[in-house]
Amino acid sequence: MRARVLIRPKAGILDPQGIAVERALPALGFGGVSNVHVGRLVELDVEDAGQLDDMCRKLLANPLIEDYEIVR
């Protein structure tokens, strides 16, 4: 099956990429933008979806600094 894993910087940890994007948008005339965060998307085909959580904890994300969400 096809799965998607969304990986985000943990809440409360400074996210300079998000801040950079948030500052760039008004410069292009887009107002009213806040709380921008930049993360990562991993798409994968897996035979055993039950392994996804383990994969996330051991490799795809670093749970110390990132939250992950598995989308099936």
Binding site: I13, L14, P16, Q17, A20, L59, L60, N62, L64, I65
Partner: protein, 215 residues
């Protein structure tokens, strides 16, 4: 005294680390795919971009065959020094607490910094209280730990010197036992005043040699 310097695909400071270590002892390279540590007394995990740093810095190198041996060596008390990318790898491997995040300014930094030695470990023996001049060069060097009070800090950027937004100005940490140390600055690039402007980095390698000779 024999140092082993790990070489991953994408390592780029392995040769400088080998040169630095060879100033205080013998130094050999340890290929990432080999499980043989060649009987070394201390291991250096050098800087660079191991396995392209794909996914996340240090994330893939941690699973290299040589790292299984390095982890076992570290758990048995063997001295292990992780420099820059090596620090990132040791954090990912769980040998050191915390993680390294992108610099607060998002830019690659390359400059000489002053760091204060605050804690004693295998690589800072007798150096506590000294200020060292060592270069940093990285994009992902902002140290973070969820519980910084429990981290054993061995190096801190001198006041006003924090280049990357590291929590509490932390530049280097060690494990509970004090045999594993990681730092973002590059001591291997500061071993000769003629080319580095400072030879302070050599002191970390000399510390390991001194500790082992008294063991």
């Amino acid at each position: 005294m024999k140092f082993g310097v790990v070489r991953f695909p994408g390592s780029c400071d392995d040769v400088d680390a080998q040169l630095a270590a060879s100033r205080v002892g013998e130094a050999v390279l340890l290929w990432h795919a080999d499980r043989d540590l060649q009987g070394v007394d201390a291991v250096v995990v050098p800087g660079g971009f191991s396995y392209g740093d794909y996914l996340r810095v240090g994330a893939i190198a941690r699973f290299a065959p040589v790292m299984e041996e390095v982890i076992e060596f570290a758990r048995a008390g063997g001295p292990v020094l992780g420099i820059c990318n090596g620090f990132q790898v040791l954090c990912e491997a769980g040998l050191l607490p915390g993680a390294l995040l992108p610099n607060v300014g998002l830019r690659f930094l390359c400059r000489q910094v002053d760091v204060d030695v605050e804690g004693e470990c295998a690589f800072t023996h007798g150096l506590v209280g000294e200020r060292l001049s060592i270069p940093v060069k990285h994009t992902t060097g902002r140290y973070y730990a969820p519980d910084p009070d429990r981290v054993r800090v061995v190096l801190r950027y001198a006041p006003g010197e924090n280049p990357n937004g590291s929590l509490n100005d932390i530049a280097g940490v060690c494990n509970e036992a004090g045999n594993v140390m990681g730092l973002m600055p590059h001591p291997e690039h500061a071993v000769d005043e003629l080319v580095g402007g400072s030879a302070d980095g050599l002191k970390l390698f000399a510390s390991a040699a001194a500790v082992l000779s008294h063991a």
